[in-house]
Structure formats: C-alpha cells, structure tokens
C-alpha cells in the first residue's frame, strides 16, 4: 500500500510539474495501470500454481501416480532459448533494490513461496538483491544435523520425489511412472558407479566379501579410484546395496547443499546441458529431464563405499556454485549448438584422497539465473 501511495504521489507531482495538461494526465494512469495488471497477472499465476500443487498433493494422498505424458508445451520448451532466459532472469534478480523496498519485496516472496524469514541469518534490508536473498544462509543452529553415525542425512531442504534401491540391468531411476533414466547417464559414463557384469553374478558374493576384508585393512578414504572399472551400462547391474534419493527444492526452500555424511569427494563433473524447468509437471512431460539439464556431479567415497550427488539446475535456478571450488562457473553462454557436450571433469587433489567433508558441511548453493 505504501508503495502504491508513493507511486501515486510521484505521478501527481509529475502531472503538476507538466502543468496538468490533458495528455500528461492520461499518461499518469499508464504506470499504475500496467503495474496493477502485472500484479494481477502474477496473482492469477500464483493462485493457479497453488491450485495445481493442491491437486497433485491430493492425488498423491489417494495413491494416484501420474504417468509420463509428453505434450505440446514440453515440445515448445525445447525451442525456447531457456539458457538465455535463465541468464536474463539472473541479471534482473541481481539488480540492487532500494533499502526501503527490500523488506517488502522479500516478505512478498516469502509469502508467495512459503519461506521462513525468521531463519534468515541477516536482517532483510541487508540483502541487496533478490538473488542475494534467495541464496541466504541461515541462523546458527537452524538445521541441527542428526549425529547418529549410522545415518545418512538430507543434503537439502526439499520434497522427496523418489527413493529406493537400484536393481536390475542398467540401474534405472524412475522419473515418473512409465519413464526412467539410467544413473550412468546422470552421473556420467566415466563414473565409478559400482556395477557388475551380469555374467559375474555368481562371483559377486565372494567378491564383496574380499572387498570388505580389504577395506577393513585400509581406512575407507584411502581407497583409490585410479583404475575405474570398464563396464557396459546395458548389460551391467548395480552391486547390491546401491541406493538413490531424489529431492526437489521449491523456490521458497533454503537453497544451499550440505554434505550428507563424512565423505571424500574425488571427482567433480560439470554437464553444461539444457535448463528445462524441473517442477512436477515438467517431470511428467519432458523425457530425460535430469539427464539433459545442466548439472554438477560430485563423486567420491564414504565409509560404506560409493557416494555421488548430482545438483540439477533449472530455468529459474540455473547456476550452481561450489563452496569447495568457487572458481567453477556454470550457466555460461553456450559456444556450441549441440547440447550433448562431454562433461568437464576435475579430479580433486591429493589423488585418491580428494576433498574431505564432514556431515553437514556446506558443499554448494543454487543461484538464481
């Protein structure tokens, strides 16, 4: 309301400055009119989003599972310059806001996307832009870390989309009912994903026993990945005890990623892919969503063996910033037209040990645009 009052005062002042002539008086209604129309449109879009979310929630409670259904809108998305849109969005949200406007803007954002402002580490007027506010850190102690040494904790705030054990040929994760993608495509073909060829199933048990004995002699982090297995993703099967979990972050969620356990990150892979939206509707309508989108994969070892974490970007949250490698730049302008470039890979030093992280340590952050 105060914003509108201020706007009205400004437009009145402008009108009187121009002498209150006819045309300038007419113009004075254009700005508030356009603003009101924009706000109305945003309100309608938000109401529709809430309605859709509610419908999805109700369907989930009833046990109804959505099936994969490609549609025209999804095909149309492929034609849009989503990377440029994302970068433009990042530029707009990075514009510094006047100090007086900041609390109003961030409160409006929090109300629209259900963020808890009481957890923000800084007073609202200290976040210079929406981009800065979006990636805010939290007050000390806001996220207590489960100290049980026999538990794996969530690396992010979000909604659990899928989880389970990887079994069967190719190690596939279901995107939605009726469509799956392979973990090797998500993590990269050079991944050290523990897989075994189907013919070697008989040898698996004795192999695992010997690995366990060998592991107990060494400390878990000193096992080198210098000689990765060569395997065929189609005929290979995941070794027993390989699990996955997919977590979706809504726009209002805390957008920093933390370490799910004590682990050693050996490799980082950056896939400069597309930037499709990753909401529930997009997952239902766009094939290979997580495999096609820009992402950063961190791969390493923890006390129980292999561990990898893929941070998948989206149109509005396109860039991923690593606190363990601040120089990494994502969501850069594309030089090639083809989206299927090989990932850019970096081995962390010292070789075979990598970068050690404790459970709960901050690893990365998702940025706007």
């Amino acid at each position: 309301t105060s914003f509108f009052k201020k706007l009205q005062t400004t437009t009145r002042a402008r009108t009187s400055f121009n002498g209150g002539t006819g045309p300038s008086r007419g113009d004075s209604f254009l700005v508030p009119g356009a603003t009101a129309a924009t706000l109305l449109m945003l309100g309608v879009l938000h109401a529709r989003r809430l309605y859709d979310d509610k419908k999805v929630e109700e369907a989930r409670e009833k046990g109804i599972e959505f099936e994969f259904q490609p549609d025209v809108k999804a095909s149309f998305l492929r034609l849009l310059p989503l990377r440029s849109i994302s970068r433009c969005w990042g530029f707009l949200t990075g514009v510094e806001l006047p100090v007086w406007l900041r609390p109003y803007a961030y409160r409006a954002w929090a109300r629209a996307f259900h963020s808890n402002l009481e957890e923000a580490a800084l007073p609202l007027d200290e976040y210079a832009s929406l981009r800065h506010f979006f990636v805010r850190s939290l007050k000390e102690g806001s996220r207590p870390i489960d100290s049980d040494p026999r538990c794996l904790v969530s690396p992010v705030d979000g909604t659990i989309l899928r989880f389970g054990e990887l079994k069967g040929a190719g190690a596939m994760i279901e995107q939605v009912k009726g469509f799956s993608y392979s973990v090797s495509s998500l993590l990269g073909a050079s991944s050290c994903l523990p897989m075994i060829a189907q013919g070697d199933m008989q040898e698996e048990v004795s192999e695992q026993e010997s690995t366990v004995k060998e592991k107990s002699k060494k400390s878990w982090w000193s096992i080198s990945l210098a000689s990765p297995k060569v395997w065929d993703p189609v005929s290979a099967r995941p070794m027993k005890g390989l699990f996955y979990c997919v977590i979706y972050l809504k726009p209002g969620d805390y957008h920093r990623i933390h370490s799910p356990a004590d682990w050693s990150i050996l490799v980082r892979r950056h896939f400069s892919g597309r930037l499709f939206p990753v909401n529930e509707r997009a997952a239902r309508t766009i094939k290979n969503l997580y495999v096609e989108n820009e992402r950063v994969v961190l791969e390493g070892l923890w006390q129980e063996g292999f561990m990898a974490m893929a941070a998948v970007g989206a149109t509005n949250i396109g860039s991923i910033e690593l606190s363990i490698e601040p120089e990494l730049q994502t969501n850069r302008p594309r030089k090639k037209l083809l989206p299927s470039e090989p990932p850019e890979e970096r081995l962390y030093e010292p070789e075979g040990v990598g970068m050690m992280l404790k459970k709960g340590d901050e690893v990365a952050a998702f940025n706007m645009g």
Binding site: I145, T159, P194, K240, C245, V278
Partner: protein, 45 residues
C-alpha cells in the same frame, strides 16, 4: 532445482542370499518435506 543422491549402504547377509530385506532403511516417504540434517535413512550393526 533438484538433488539426486546415489550411494552404497550396508546390506544384510539375507539380501545377498536373495531375500528382499535390507539392513539400510529409508526413514522417509514419497512427498515428505525434509530439511538439511534430518535423517534420510539408517542402518544397524
């Protein structure tokens, strides 16, 4: 944005012999809201 976590976790001998039970158990359900630091799953010695 989305985060996908892939990890090895302990399995019991019964799984190796072909039974379906697993030593690692997720403590979450689909659609659950989770926060940083909350347990995704646990295993027992």
């Amino acid at each position: 944005s989305t985060v996908v976590l892939v990890f090895q976790a302990p399995i019991s001998k019964s799984v190796e012999l072909g039974n379906s039970s697993s030593e690692f158990e997720f403590s979450i359900k689909r659609g659950d809201r989770i926060r940083v630091g909350e347990a995704l799953g646990r295993w027992h010695d």
